[in-house]
């Protein structure tokens, strides 16, 4: 191995030596070896991700060949007659995610504004710390609390309240009709909202903190109130990044499995009422994968996994681009 003294000798590039000897020298030097080894592992991540896509694609072959695009439109999910349609699951996944965003986005952005714009640094840091801890709580714990706390609460209090108030409104009323069993799209949406709100807060807070100080000062100097400077100057500046945080949260909500499985009711139906039980892609995979006896059945479940993968893949990609764009100061161009 090269000691300090020998490396000094070798330090200048060996221009006059033959290619093979130069290569040996460089290998002895160690740098090339280290480079190669670490490169292999980095490339391993690429390989692993490609294998993931490959396995999902190959193993869903049976289902793709038999149902084609109809898979996304038909409503039957019948393992006995080997007839599989994914639309109730896709519907449930989208609806629960939308409900969760409707709750989590205003809450998350408001909290991020408080942390980035109002709270003194010390308080802001400690609250962010606690919110990071909230993000670390395992999803099965959310599910546990969902089953034993949120579901009874929905059944006895929140559900009837929604039916008696919003249920009488035109248009929106359709979303809040009985029966109300406590489990369903809305319950899943509430639990998901609690789970994704920490992501919205921490990313939005970071993005808000990158907004230059003089933007705020200029608005205040023009006589704007604190709220006006935040709402009309800071938020528009940061909106690409905030949108990125929402995409990130949406990707999380779409792929979330355990908490949703435990509170959605597991009924593959497309119902207008948010209080009705439903089913999501992740939940059906979690529930039926080990029971899938037929090859086509398993293949259909893996195709659902592929759909879920593609949805989150696209959303995550978009989110990264948006967040990077804002942090580099691209947000103000809008």
């Amino acid at each position: 191995m090269s000691t300090t003294a020998t490396t000094i000798e070798h330090a200048p590039p060996n221009r006059d030596r033959g290619g093979a000897r130069a290569l040996i020298q460089r290998l002895r030097h160690g740098d090339e070896v280290a480079h190669l080894v670490t490169l292999t592992f980095a490339a391993g991540i690429l390989l692993l991700t490609s294998m993931l896509v490959y396995e999902l694609w190959v193993n869903s072959h049976l289902s793709r060949a038999k149902f084609g695009w109809l898979f996304f439109w038909t409503r039957t999910w019948d393992p006995i007659f080997d007839n599989f349609g994914a639309s109730p699951f896709i519907y449930g996944t989208l609806i629960t995610s939308i409900v969760s965003l409707v709750i989590a986005v205003p809450l998350g952005i408001a909290a991020a504004i408080f942390l980035a714009e109002l709270a003194p640094r010390k308080i802001s840091d400690s609250i962010s710390f606690l919110i990071d801890l909230l993000a670390a709580v395992p999803s099965v714990i959310y599910g546990l609390l969902g089953i034993f706390i949120v579901v009874p609460l929905m059944r006895t209090t929140i559900g009837p309240l929604l039916i008696n108030t919003l249920g009488h409104l035109p248009y929106i009323g359709k979303l809040f009709k009985p029966p109300n069993y406590g489990v369903g799209f809305f319950t899943a949406g509430i639990v998901l909202a609690i789970m994704v709100v920490p992501f919205i807060i921490s990313v939005s807070r970071e993005v808000l903190l990158t907004v230059p100080r003089d933007q705020r000062e200029a608005a205040l100097a023009l006589g704007a109130t604190r709220w006006e400077s935040t709402w009309q100057v800071v938020i528009p500046w940061a909106r690409t990044g905030i949108l990125g945080s929402i995409f990130l949260a949406l990707a999380r909500a779409l792929g979330e499995t355990m908490a949703v499985t435990m509170v959605i009711g597991n009924d593959p139906k497309i119902t207008a009422s948010l209080l009705a039980p439903g089913y999501t892609i992740a939940a059906v995979i979690a529930n039926e994968f080990t029971e899938a006896t037929g090859d086509l059945y398993l293949s259909a479940l893996i195709e659902l996994g592929l759909v879920l993968f593609l949805m989150t893949f696209i959303l995550n990609g978009l989110a990264r681009i948006l967040i990077v764009a804002t942090e580099r100061g691209g947000g103000h161009s809008s």
């Binding site: 160690g30 280290a34 980095a42 408001a110 609250i127 670390a136 099965v140 959310y142 709220w227 990707a251």
Partner: protein
């Protein structure tokens, strides 16, 4: 008229700003609600038996989850052995060797891998490990968790390596050390605290994962010797016990939830406090 408008703007300001504060405290209070409920329900059901006994069959009360605790530890060990070295070396590559385009591709892929739903990772581990041998195993669960450890470790390793002051690197290089020697003897030790904490955080994150274990490690009511058998784990036990219709199982689920949450939160608390202290020491 103008006074009225000013009054309106001022009240709007006050209302909206207080609402943001309410939102922040509402979110934080959820953490304490979760902790409170688990302590309340889990604390009652937690006993010494929980840590030392096997689960009892339906109808018999008592019993514990000793096999699930050991199972979770074994799964974490596998995840650490498979995931951490890959994450570490890939992180070193990104921070020290990477070119521009290739590094960007790796970083992007890592982020996307991090965002893949855990249930999909489960399907992958299933088709990779379970399908060929046709039975569930601890190994398959370890592969799934190990795969989830990788992206988190890569990003934290890279971040902490980049935080090492350039003067250290230049000092080592000026003494004639080659690049890899500089990395191995100067930069990695300097960043080791942060990197280890990042690794622990990654393990804490996968410790609570349930979805990828459902059809890889599966579940087991007894001890799982070796690595080739289905194994119980705390998160999966919480899930199966919580959705079962027996009150006694619900109590066990709460107890298991408390244990799992405490482990995960304490690991997070310790790591994040250590990181914060290092961070403030550096900037001071």
């Amino acid at each position: 008229m103008i006074r009225l408008r000013l009054l309106w703007r001022k009240s709007l300001n006050a209302i909206m700003l207080s609402l943001t504060g309410v939102a922040a405290f509402a979110v934080v209070s959820v953490l304490f609600l979760i902790l409170g409920y688990l302590l309340l329900h889990g604390g009652k059901s937690l006993s010494w038996d929980f840590f030392t006994k096997l689960p009892k069959p339906v109808g018999e009360s008592g019993g514990g989850m000793a096999n699930a605790i050991i199972g979770s530890l074994k799964l974490l060990l596998l995840a650490a052995v498979m995931g951490l070295p890959v994450g570490l070396l890939a992180g070193v590559y990104l921070a020290e060797f990477g070119g521009k385009t290739f590094s960007f591709v790796i970083r992007y892929t890592t982020d996307l891998l991090n965002g893949v739903p855990s249930i999909v990772i489960g399907i992958f581990a299933y088709s990779l490990v379970v399908l060929p041998v046709k039975h569930f195993s601890t190994l398959a669960g370890g592969v799934a968790l190990g795969m989830m450890v990788i992206p988190i470790t890569v990003r934290s390793t890279e971040e902490f390596l980049r935080a090492v002051p350039g003067s250290l690197r230049e000092g080592a290089m000026a003494l004639g050390a080659s690049k890899w020697k500089t990395i191995a003897t100067v930069i990695l030790p300097a960043a080791s605290g942060g990197i280890l904490t990042g690794m622990l955080l990654a393990l804490a994150r996968v410790a609570g994962e349930t979805a990828p274990l459902l059809f890889t490690a599966f579940s087991n009511r007894f001890w799982s010797p070796g690595w080739g058998q289905p194994s119980a784990s705390l998160p999966v036990m919480i899930y199966t016990y919580a959705i079962a219709p027996y009150d006694d199982w619900h109590r066990q689920a709460w107890a298991a939830g408390l244990v799992l949450l405490m482990l995960v939160l304490l690991a997070n608390l310790g790591c994040r406090l250590a990181l914060n202290r290092r961070g403030s020491a550096r900037s001071a």
